[in-house]
């Protein structure tokens, strides 16, 4: 009797938890991950399988930075400048928004997972146009 009471309580708890979790999951599934108005929004996928980039972009960039800075090999598939060129959105006046500003591409996910990458202390946050 006691055990069945326990299990019922557990199931109720699980149900309550699931009820809370489902809307959050739905919201995540609905979000498009790319920022509206960015070049990336018109592309079919990222520079590799989008799910792969989503999971492993930090590793790719960490490898890439040593290849570029130390070995001088800039031919790699992945680059932070490439991310920014593609994922920066423009505001109403056509000016690029920094990718690390609120609700923009980099910030939105990193804020959600409470990660604070130091990339943009040194790297620019908008595509660079040089004459």
């Amino acid at each position: 009797m006691r055990s069945s009471f326990f299990s019922r309580k557990c199931i109720l708890g699980l149900l309550a938890g699931a009820a809370l979790a489902i809307p959050a999951m739905q919201a995540a599934a609905q979000s498009t991950y790319v920022t509206k108005g960015s070049k990336a929004a018109s592309e079919k996928s990222c520079v590799a399988e989008t799910s792969d980039i989503r999971r492993n972009h930090m590793d790719y960039m960490k490898h890439g930075r040593d290849e570029v800075v130390i070995d001088g090999d800039r031919t790699g598939q992945y680059s932070l400048a490439g991310c920014i060129d593609c994922h920066a959105a423009k505001d109403a006046s056509g000016k690029y928004l920094p990718v690390d500003s609120e609700d923009q591409f980099c910030h939105s996910c990193h804020a959600y997972v409470a990660v604070n990458p130091a990339c943009f202390q040194c790297h620019r946050t908008t595509p660079e146009k040089r004459d």
Binding site: V69, G72, D73, C122, H123
Partner: protein, 250 residues
Amino acid sequence: MSKQSDQPGMNRRQLIGGVIAATGAVTIAPGLILHAVAGNPQQKKGASSEKRWGMVIDANKCADGCSACVDACNDEHNLTGFDRPATDAQWIRTVKLKDKQTGHINRMVMLCQHCEFPPCVDVCPTNASFKRVDGIVLVDRHRCIGCRYCMMACPYKARSFIHEALADQSVNAPRGKGCVESCTLCVHRVDAGKTTTACQDACQKEGHAAILFGDLNDPKSRISQVLKSNNSTQIRADLELNTGVRYLNL
């Protein structure tokens, strides 16, 4: 650049066997493996150890009142300052030397000398200050902790420390607060296969042509020819750092 996984792969042993086979390793006794030197240097991408990039600066051609090279460097790497000359970043600067006895004034530019034996690399506690295989001395800002030992060690005062937060850096030179930096010999241009630096282009455009960049290891390069046929000087040659930047008529 393999995907990182938290789980050990089932085919890990196969992979290790494959790697050993691929590098041509030979087991001469249990536990003792002889590795063949792997890789063809010509197939390697990026910087090549067959080159040594350097620069020749002709002090006679460096014109008084001209700062074209400094401006070009600032523009190329977006070195914006805060109107505080004592702390603003400076990768290349013009210097006037006056002989007190004769009154003769020499003009030249001072920048990172890209030493073969760089003191900044010797003292760096994090290996952030390093020399690329092609002789270019750089700071890896991913590793720099901003201790400024390298600034103390550099006999040429070539390095700057960034005291304030920056924005809108150039893709050519990502740079930020808390790191030390100096002339990169326009490494972004070198990696792109270009043969001139921003300062050289600017000096040429002004009609002075006091700066020449090139490969010191290639006897046919213009810089090697100039060094062969002229008497050049290393600044503080007594330190035996074998600088990559040489001066004429100094």
